[in-house]
Amino acid sequence: MSGQEAPTKTISDFEARLSQADKAVAQFEQDDLGLLHRIRGILRRNPTLIPATVLLISVLGFGIVAPRFLGMGALSTVLQQVTVTGFIAIAQTIVILTAGIDLSVGEILVLSSLVMGNLAVSGTPLPIAILAGMACGTAMGLFNGILVAKIKLPPFIVTLGTYSIFRALKLWYSGSESIRNADIEAQAPGLLFFGNGIKLGAATITYGGIMLLILAAIAWYVLNRTAWGRHVHALGDDPDAAMLSGIRTDRTLISVYAVAGLICGFTAWVAIGRVGSVSPIGFENINLGSITAVVIGGTSLFGGRGSIVGSVLGAIIVGVFVTGLSLAGVDDYWQMFAAGSLVIIAVALDQYLRRASQ
């Protein structure tokens, strides 16, 4: 079509014919496919339905196997057990939404509670001790964030490194000594606040459990109803697109890790209330436990999609399995086996739904 004497202004015939063709580019057919497709569609749009259903079924299932399980006592025990994991899972969710991961959450948590506990026990006013602990957690998160965003190292490597670094700092700072419950009760009973609660018959709803729900609500709001929250999602979805859309990706990424650190710092207070003392070797497995909860809750490790509610439900599901299996008289190692299987099933389901979207 090139090379004629007249400058080419027309397009080839087949294109000219297109004027007669259907011009609609954006056309949507409601694909009325099978029931399976529709269920997949519903689950895709409401990913928290999966952990919610799993939770319901497992509670009922364990209720049949071990009738004691459905008592208020056992259920409130589950909630108390998963409180700290639930908090950390919220922090972990925000990080994983950016397609990152934070392996150092447990160390941040324990180091923050050591700072908080030591200051409070040695006579620092309680609010200052608590704020110092939280500031300490935020600083550690900030450090992670700067390494991830500015030095551009993979989050797994950064937090694997800081996991060891914070761990070393923790052991050095504590001198491998615990802060005893008696000292906390005598010097700073306020640190134990979140361990107290409201008694309802055999059950105790701790303030920590209530706070978990409040924090989950706040985190949900921030992630879904503020620009920052949408930027976090966009960043995990496609970082280049986020950058070209004018999001300050470095800043957002650093703030994500700092916020995760802040939540860990706050959780330090809750954890002291839950345990009653501070041990430098407590919460050893909470980093993996939080990732387990997040993944079971339906948040994708590839970033961009996930939910806070799902993560809290995920933490509760793990608690239900552990308590339920032990009430049913199953050995400890099978409890771990169950938690491991849950993770794999959850990720397989996530992949399946993802494929359904394409």
């Binding site: 079509m1 090139s2 090379g3 004629q4 007249a6 400058p7 080419t8 202004k9 397009i11 080839s12 087949f14 294109e15 297109l18 063709a21 259907d22 011009k23 609609a24 580019v25 954006a26 056309q27 949507f28 709001y221 921030v222 109803r225 503020t226 620009a227 920052w228 949408r230 930027h231 999602h233 966009a234 979805d237 496609d238 280049d240 697109a241 986020a242 950058m243 070209l244 859309s245 004018g246 999001i247 300050r248 961009g304 999609r305 979207s357 394409q358």
Partner: protein
């Protein structure tokens, strides 16, 4: 073609950019006049992309000046360019697949609710953003998209392109840059996007169109900027030059003799 008497809305002089030992721009000049569609063509490796990235803020040139509306500007990030009124539709579209159409249109410039909810609680005004997005898609005849809240990943390639163009047209107050908008599209969808481009020009917004598709370039562009070896070789009038001329200039097979404009 008469020499434009109006001042260019966006122009660049002597842009240089070097990546290590590779010179991507070697004193590139550029002019865009109000209300026109300017095609930018060039062989692979001629430095088109770098030029466009410089104009859209994604690359900061080592040397050279850019002026927008007569005032000298320096873009350190795409955000700077956006704030100055230059919107770019990237070849990759720069959209976040999991977010909705409206959320993508407002990504990085979300509107907040008035009063306490917005200023203290930072609540985004979703109702107003959705309404605006729907209105803009409507303007460009894209309202066969039913649900403004549906995720971008559920859209076809042409629909996504449509949303990206609508986003640029809605916010690009001065210039809209389109990088290979038809490259990934089928024949029918390309046609629709070309119509969209003309619609946007009809609103008085000048457009820079980067494309490898000569028929598309020659159909919609008022002037065509030929880029070669890191600089502007010439600007031709598609009404007076043939596509084979353009390709010859672009590849160096022929040197422009009677130029409409000196390079």
């Amino acid at each position: 073609m008469t020499e434009p008497t109006v001042a260019p809305i966006l122009s660049a002089r002597g842009l240089m950019k070097r990546y290590g030992t590779v010179v991507a721009m070697n004193g590139a000049d550029f002019d865009l006049y109000p209300g026109e569609i300017l095609g930018v063509i060039g062989d692979n490796g001629a430095g088109k992309s770098t030029l466009i990235k410089a104009l859209s803020g994604a690359v900061t040139p080592d040397h050279g000046t850019m002026t927008l509306d007569g005032a000298e500007v320096q873009f350190r990030s795409p955000e700077d360019a956006r704030r100055a009124g230059i919107e770019t539709v990237y070849q990759t579209l720069a959209m976040s697949p999991a977010l909705s159409i409206a959320e993508n249109m407002f990504l990085g410039r979300e509107w907040r609710k008035p009063g306490f909810l917005g200023s203290v609680l930072r609540m985004t005004d979703r109702a107003r953003m959705n309404a605006f997005a729907r209105e803009k898609l409507n303007d460009l005849g894209l309202m066969t998209i039913q649900d403004i809240g549906q995720a971008v990943e559920t859209l076809s390639g042409g629909q996504r392109q449509g949303v990206a163009v609508a986003r640029a047209a809605a916010f690009g107050s001065k210039v809209v840059i389109l990088d290979e908008p038809t490259a990934a599209l089928g024949v029918k969808e390309s046609r629709r996007v070309l119509d969209l481009i003309k619609d946007v020009r009809a609103r008085g917004i000048p457009i820079i169109l980067i494309s490898h598709n000569m028929p598309h370039v020659f159909e919609v562009c008022d002037r065509v900027h030929v880029h070669r070896l890191g600089r502007r070789l010439c600007v031709i009038d598609p009404k007076r030059h043939s596509m084979s001329d353009a390709v010859a200039y672009m590849t160096g097979a022929k040197l422009p003799d009677d130029l409409d404009e000196a390079a």
